[in-house]
Subunit: 467 residues, 2 copies
């Protein structure tokens, strides 16, 4: 595909449209951070960054770009891990981080309408202050809600509450040709035509640019309690998870973690974790509207854990303790990152019953491939995060061993009927694994869907399923 290079005339159009030099970055004024995201070594500079403040601006830019065949890459706060927000073909980057307003809280319909640049942590705090609850809770709280929607972000509370898609009711979207459309709305049910809202969620900025989102809220649960449960081995810990799921007390979150990663987090945060004496832990959370309700739930689960060989049950029932444990959990990614020179990540998801086999396999690679790998993850929903560490390997060794490890991990996930990504998406970095694991007929249809939205392939090219 031949794209037009940005020239003087294009810049003139953008300057006239935006009419505020501070919201346009060009050439050497483009900060290095705009050339990559949080983890992937996918690197490429846009020619111009436009910090948009309205749907109209996004629409005008897309219309112009479409007519002139200029590639456009949308970007939130750049916390992605797979290069989805990197401008592979340069061109225009639309930075939505200034579109960060809460537009409406509708207490009758229990919805909140936000611009895409609102940060997850801002949204969570805003609704909590009003006794309401936005359940999706990915580790990265400084992600924008637009980014969360674009990757269908999951997070810790997915066991009980589901993922981002389940909380998106409606979207305002600017199509690649600049047309503004609405998918869904405030309605709770919808069987009106194809599931455009659901298709848009998780499409990683390749089908349209989200300029407004109507999100579903819940009443804020009144109480929450967490249990940190040490086990003699990871195997025992993980084998307990299906028994918990089958009991009638569905926890809000079921995470697994190992001593190594806990110690990284202690070092990173400069704070002690409640316990680090065991090899493996389950971290469970329960929430509800009364202490008795929660106690009944966690009593039965604690009993299951003890029967399965748990060494102890640490109960965290104050807000402070709760926050300190989950803050440590939320810091795992950064903590592991701080423990090595460079790393790459895996975000596979397998059926819950295969988590144990997957984790054991990943551990076995340390010997097989001779590279360090750390992992933790969402045991309750089969979504594992494994980090392959560069440590002091040379660039060539790293490239070779990392690829070897990745190939083996994704092949194992396929064997276990898993998928390439549970919540981080495909972006640019995981594209080859998507193409390896997916039926060619499905890839062809996905490309047909992309063409239906974006026949000129100007929006976020080379991502997800596009070569």
């Amino acid at each position: 595909m031949e794209y037009k290079k940005i020239d003087h005339q294009d810049m003139e159009f953008i300057r006239n449209l935006i009419n505020d030099p501070e919201r346009i970055l060009f050439g050497e004024n483009i900060n290095e951070e705009y050339s990559h995201d949080e983890l992937s070594d996918t690197e490429s500079y846009p020619d111009v960054v436009v910090k948009v403040i309205s749907t109209e601006e996004v629409s005008s830019i897309m219309k112009y770009a479409y007519e002139n065949n200029i590639p456009v890459t949308p970007r939130g706060s750049g916390t992605g891990l797979v290069g989805a927000s990197v401008a592979m073909e340069h061109g225009i980057m639309i930075d939505t981080s200034l579109m960060n307003h809460v537009l409406e809280l509708d207490e009758d319909n229990l919805t909140i309408t936000v611009e895409p640049g609102v940060l997850l942590m801002e949204l969570a705090a805003y609704v909590q202050d009003r006794d309401l609850f936005y359940p999706p809770d990915p580790g990265e709280k400084s992600a924008t809600i637009g980014g969360n929607i674009s990757t269908n972000a999951g997070g810790m509370r997915a066991v009980k509450y589901g993922v981002t898609r389940d909380y998106v009711r409606g979207l305002e979207v600017v199509l690649p040709n600049g047309t503004v459309v609405e998918f869904g709305g405030k309605v709770v049910k919808n069987s009106t035509g194809y599931a455009m809202k659901d298709l848009m969620v998780g499409s990683e900025g390749t089908l349209g640019i989200i300029t407004k989102a109507i999100l579903k809220l819940l009443p804020l649960p009144k109480k929450a309690i967490s249990l940190l449960i040490p086990f003699p081995s990871l195997e025992q810990a993980i084998r307990t998870v299906p028994l918990i799921i089958k009991s009638k007390s569905i926890p809000t979150a079921i995470e697994f973690m190992q001593r190594e990663v806990i110690m990284d987090a202690e070092k990173y945060l400069g704070k002690k974790f409640p316990d680090n004496s065991s090899d493996a832990y389950l971290l469970l959370k329960f929430d509800g509207n009364s202490t008795e309700e929660i106690e009944r739930a966690y009593d039965s689960v604690a009993k299951i854990c003890m029967e399965q060989g748990a060494l102890d049950i640490f109960i965290s029932d104050t807000t402070e303790r709760e926050e300190s444990i989950w803050k440590a959990r939320g810091a795992f990614l950064e903590a592991i990152k701080g423990s090595t020179t460079y790393m790459d990540e895996v975000d596979v998801v397998v059926p819950r019953s295969s988590v144990n086999e997957m984790v054991e396999y990943i551990h076995s690679l340390h010997e097989k491939v001779n590279i360090r790998i750390k992992s933790f993850g969402h045991a309750g929903d089969g979504n594992l995060h494994a980090y392959v560490l560069k440590d002091d390997l040379s660039d060539e060794e790293w490239e070779k061993l990392m690829n070897e490890a990745m190939d083996l991990i994704y092949a194992k996930a396929r064997e276990l009927n898993g998928q390439v990504s549970g919540e981080h998406g495909i972006g640019y970095a995981k594209k080859s694994y998507l193409l390896q694991s997916m039926d060619p007929a499905t890839v062809e249809i996905m490309r047909g869907i992309k063409a239906a939205f974006d026949p000129k392939n100007i929006l976020n090219p080379h991502k997800v399923c596009q070569m």
Copy 2:
């Protein structure tokens, strides 16, 4: 579009493939019921009906049909209300009702894998016997699960548990060209490429034929209690709903109903409803794992209802009473049908806060258009079912008045930011209203999606968004 008419050679192919004359209906052997569905006056006969028993048969038929440009219409038990399973271009009808086996119950992953012809009531009973729960609960229990998935069926429990899409984890699909693909799987989370599974749900048999479904189950709640709450007026009843939603006690179901429809149901079932002395009722259901938990929930909601002017609270706390109330509720559609000569239906969904305005508007049409309309519906999720009754109108009067009423109802729904269908789908009968209410740009993309799956437009033509 020019399709090939079924000829001797095509029949030869089908006979050789199926090798069982009892599973092939041709010409005059095709039962009248195959020419329409449960409500719509959309009528058209297929040339041949094939009662398939395997994915391979479906795949072979589709491959042949694709190569020979023969239209194909999939059909479950034909309980749809919008003509989605009617063979508008004749050709081959694929009847999936013999593919009615439960293939696997996976208690570790809490999933059940079924063929598409399993009936909703069979599925519900199968899992309940094993202390498990499939929450979606549309009124029509003899629908197939394949049909439920194809319309993204909602039902009574959507307030607490969501709709069919939320319980579909994975699908095996035969594409229009005969290729067999899998979308999703047993995994709980998935951000691997576009949301093909979600797109397939609700696509009304236009994108592919579902041959297997992996469904999510929950542990069976141990207790359920229902409250039947009479109000002096429908307005008071419905104004109470947002207050219930905002309270922290989310009921499983919130239905509204009026005396008129209750009396139809009493007549239809030959059984008395617990009360029919008031104009309007809310029917609430609560479920949970302990009597105390449920009592706490319904106590606070009962209090809200009394504050809003409820006349009484009838508590139904035995399985028998529960079943009799919900059986009556489930019979409303058939009961109304029995009270007139012919009817057509509306399945609009509006934001919960606009239910009252929508219902009042529908009532006002009795005078405005001079036609009888009865309604009931899911007050908890804004999904209203209104039935326009023919009574003793002549065909011409009916055609005129019914269209007039429909146009006004859908226009009002649009005005209230509602959608054409909450759970019944678009099919053939509601296509004009979809096209009126939807942005042309969105319709164009939907058609592009259809073309990506079915470039020859042989699968279920003239449905949803296809002219």
